[in-house]
Symmetry: C2
Subunit: 241 residues, 2 copies
DNA sequence: CGGGATATTGAGGTAGTTCAATCCCAGTGG
DNA sequence: CCACTGGGATTGAACTACCTCAATATCCCG
């Protein structure tokens, strides 16, 4: 199975990739590693020499506070480069944690550097990948800073549905949701207790519910409206980059 | 006066720049434009063909909500490329607004593209610039999501002081602060009223105060402690990138 | 079938909001 | 040099969204 399949799907939603470029992406991968649920995949502050492409499962970027509280700054799906930022930064400012059992393709930084020396277009697409991360961060700042708990959770669900669709996961208003309510709380800047209450409201209003490790969205339009969700920030338009 | 001076200072804190590279950066600039306080410099959704380097003044990235509320997702100082993200994204997901009178160096995207074709190292440094933006976004997510109002404002002040120092602005515990309390509120996800009360506390505790359009930090150590401020996320180490 | 993790519910508390009145002060014009 | 103006800052009082703590219920896995 081709471990770069999801990444290619993700990039092809934003630009045209030649076969040659797809091969070059596949050639980036040195090996594949698997991590258990809860495993810390990258530790804040450690020097980085490889970057990891998520192939299967879900991972999160986690920033800890002194008192043990945490804020998750991004949720990663297959096709996401969870620490491509480490290529430029050399040291990450946060942990990356496997939220479920997860498989990663390992990409040595030398190979990325080689791409920047020889393939300008592919370089720009990798750069783009990190720009989309930043755009997601900004949208989350709006959520965390200004939206109600109800809208925060609704917005997270909308984003998840759209991003899963990009890489061909989920269907019929059903998507995998292997996260706990504590995860949702740490993603949204809420407490797990309040997430539980909020989910009850969303379910009662017939917008969305979590059931059996799945996210069921009954009415995406209504959910998006409640969340003020506009997918523009995901930059899905296919154009020369 | 060299309009890329602050940018060079900023990059030289992270890596070594050759004279040749400095010249190449200067050659990026096509012209310089000035904007009035409050002017929208880049409008969300408009196609981008140039990027803007802030030379003088302060600018913010602003995301609006339906009801007129807003969240500011970044505060930009001289030396910051306020919409380098537009080079890859082609369309921005937020407005850029001049908070004060501000001067920008205009960099056409063709010239940036040319850099990606001919100068891998400089390309990586421009990429790095956007990675630092993303790192700042993440730290702000922690602030907005998990810190108290007191710590949010304290953290903002710490970041501002450090980033001003990088580009050689301010001294003796005094830095320019031409923003209103409404700006601070929109940066931190608070109300202006609560910012006012919070500033009173910070002043009373002898940590920091705003006075005469200036930020005065009486005791940076204590302020940093109150904010849980750790500058690691600004990635100031000078190393090969 | 048992046990630990996860989720739910209730009751009470609080940080930050809302609204509205007042104050301050830097410009501006006379 | 002073009065006027308007944006920004401050203050008070009431309110509420979300938190905290704690008890119970449910799910999932071995």
């Amino acid at each position: 199975m081709d471990v770069t399949r999801s990444l290619v799907l993700k990039l092809e939603r934003r630009d045209v990739l030649s076969d040659d470029e797809k091969q070059a992406l596949a050639a980036l991968v040195e090996r594949v590693v698997t991590h258990r649920p809860g495993a810390r995949v990258v530790r804040e502050g450690d020097p980085q020499t490889v970057s990891l492409l998520l192939v299967r499962g879900i991972a999160v970027r986690e920033k800890m506070l002194r008192d043990g509280e945490k804020q998750l700054t991004e949720l990663h799906l297959p096709g996401d480069f969870v620490d491509l930022h480490g290529f430029g930064l050399k040291v990450l400012d946060h942990n990356v944690v496997a939220a479920t059992e997860a498989e990663f393709a390992v990409v040595p930084h030398e190979r990325l550097e080689r791409i920047t020396e020889t393939r300008p277009h592919l370089t720009r697409l990798l750069w783009l990948n990190t720009l989309i991360d930043a755009a997601i961060h900004r949208e989350w700042l709006v959520s965390v800073g200004r939206r109600s708990a109800y809208a925060k959770v609704a917005h997270l669900f909308c984003e998840l549905a759209v991003r899963f669709d990009v890489v061909g996961i989920g269907e019929n208003g059903r998507w995998p949701f292997p996260l706990t309510q504590q995860h949702v709380a740490d993603l949204c800047g809420l407490t797990a207790v309040h997430v539980s209450r909020t989910l009850k409201l969303l379910t009662a209003d017939g917008l969305a519910q979590l059931k059996g490790r799945e996210l069921l969205i009954a009415d995406f339009q209504k959910l998006a409206k409640a969340a003020e969700f506009d997918p523009a920030y995901l930059h899905l338009a296919r154009m020369p980059r």
